[in-house]
């Protein structure tokens, strides 16, 4: 009865896909982004096809039933992409100026490179966010082990994922401790940065010392024993993988063919 409880019962068919199938979709999506990004539109050769293509990511997330989590995790990526777009557009000079306000100039080359870079980031990072929001850590572990990956490598991968959560929590604890000691942790960027670096030291030192004990803990729980391991959690294919993978391949082929047609014409 416990074993039954530990299994995942996903109702959403997209979220329930096998992790490697989701990863295939991610890779094909990246290929499509690359191909579409190479099509220049208008006199500035702007990679405008990337913009509508990007909408696939939120739509896919919404269809996978992880819209809220997606938005939450995606905000940071959005911010970085916007920053890159602005910086590139303003700072890469070319003869052609697209738009001018006072001393601010948006150059054609800058806009092109900014669009290309920021939307590539949005597309690929967005797909990763989708992958990680629809897949539980234990699914990754099982999938990696089933794919024949060394269990130690799989452990490193998965424990780093878990560590991101834990370090986040620890850093909040440390921040609180710093605040209790009178260090300013709120306010503008400079104040925050000043508080941030001293917090890193106990965080990193703590992570290193605890890793030594972690190694011994693993060793004493037989992690190093040679021979087959068993697992309480079973990862099953949902059965829709060929369909989902098929759709992804067809779309990718269509995009490539489309690209070639544009080329030839």
């Amino acid at each position: 009865m416990w074993r039954e409880k530990l299994q995942l019962h996903k109702t959403n068919p997209i979220a329930a896909l096998y992790p490697s199938c989701k990863f295939l979709i991610l890779c094909l999506y990246a290929v499509c982004s690359f191909v579409l990004g190479s099509i220049g539109v208008g006199e500035g050769d702007y990679p405008l096809f990337l913009i509508p293509w990007f909408f696939v990511v939120p739509i896919l997330s919404a269809a996978s039933g992880v819209w809220k989590r997606f938005v939450h995790a995606f905000r940071a990526v959005l911010f970085i992409a916007a920053l890159i777009l602005v910086v590139q557009a303003l700072l890469i000079p070319s003869e052609k100026v697209v738009w001018q306000l006072g001393f601010l100039r948006i150059y054609q080359a800058g806009l092109k490179s900014g669009l290309s870079l920021s939307f590539s980031i949005l597309n690929i990072a967005g797909m990763f966010v989708w992958l990680f929001q629809t897949t539980e850590n234990k699914e990754f572990t099982r999938a990696l082990e089933d794919s024949g990956m060394n269990y130690k490598a799989a452990y490193v991968f998965i424990s780093s994922l878990q560590m991101i959560d834990v370090l986040g929590k620890n850093s909040r604890t440390i921040m609180n401790a710093q605040r209790a000691r009178g260090v300013e942790t709120e306010g503008n960027m400079i104040v925050r940065a000043k508080a941030f670096f001293p917090s890193l030291v106990p965080l990193i030192v703590g992570a290193i010392t605890s890793s030594e004990e972690r190694v011994l803990t693993l060793e004493s729980k037989g992690f190093d024993v040679n021979g087959p391991k068993t697992s309480l959690f079973e990862l099953k294919k949902s059965g829709k993988e060929p369909l989902a993978g098929g759709i992804a391949i067809v779309v990718t082929l269509a995009v490539i063919v489309g690209r070639i047609v544009v080329w030839v014409l």
């Binding site: 234990k138 803990t217 729980k221 024993v225 040679n226 087959p228 309480l232």
Partner: protein, 286 residues
Amino acid sequence: MGVVIEFKNVTYSYPLTDEPVIRDMSFTLEGGKFYGVIGENGSGKTTLCSLIRGFAPSFYKGELQGQVLVDGKPTVDYGPGELSLKIGYVFQNPFNQISGVKDTLFEEVAFGLENFGVPPEEIEERVVEVMKMTNILQLAEKNPFELSGGQMQRVALASVIVLKPDILVIDEPTSQLDPEGTESVFKIIEEMKKEKKTVILVEHKIDLVAEYADEVLVLKDGRLIRKDATAKVLTDMSLEKEGVQLPQMAILGNRLVESGVPLRYIPVTEAQACEVIGEAIRKGGK
């Protein structure tokens, strides 16, 4: 049962240190017995545990003279993972004893069994049994990273005893526990003894050691200054000068004897104190 652990003139120093932490130790531990290890902070108790488990020197490196034998074979000759089936080790710090890859306590406790390739049905049975025993079954679905110190300590103990090793090395398992939790841990360890396991327990709570241990090892500055039956060691008033805290009952008994009350023997536990003091009072009354 015969000897399961033997130290032959063991001297050990950690890397980059001049002074040895364990000095010239020789003793044997017998199977099926419960050994209490006591001593001040820094006297080498944890290092002794690491030596038994083979972490020193294979993991910590450092310099080992003499031999540590487990079942007659030097620990340095065991292959990786081989000792983990034989010796269960519960670390002093409960916070770093989780695997870091499981998202429920149930799976966390099952982690070792999965590594040993135990079939899932059996894993489930054993994990449920041990979690009941350590009183953490109600937490089974919690995330291992979100536990209190006391809960963590029970989890650490549970995930080791679920492996059913023949030898248990337990380093201060009750430092984070309330009196009730401490008592329950000792009950569990006693249970292990009934299953004929050898238990080596480092513990500062001397009254509990007095009650449960068969023999006591006293460490001071890396030396083994006593190793004998519990009643014998813990009634030895000369140990007080060595900074060893004796059980309240033993101190009381000694004071009574000094002041002329004839006790048949010096008690170390409450039950024994009741017995001998009761006897003395009844005799005195007549």
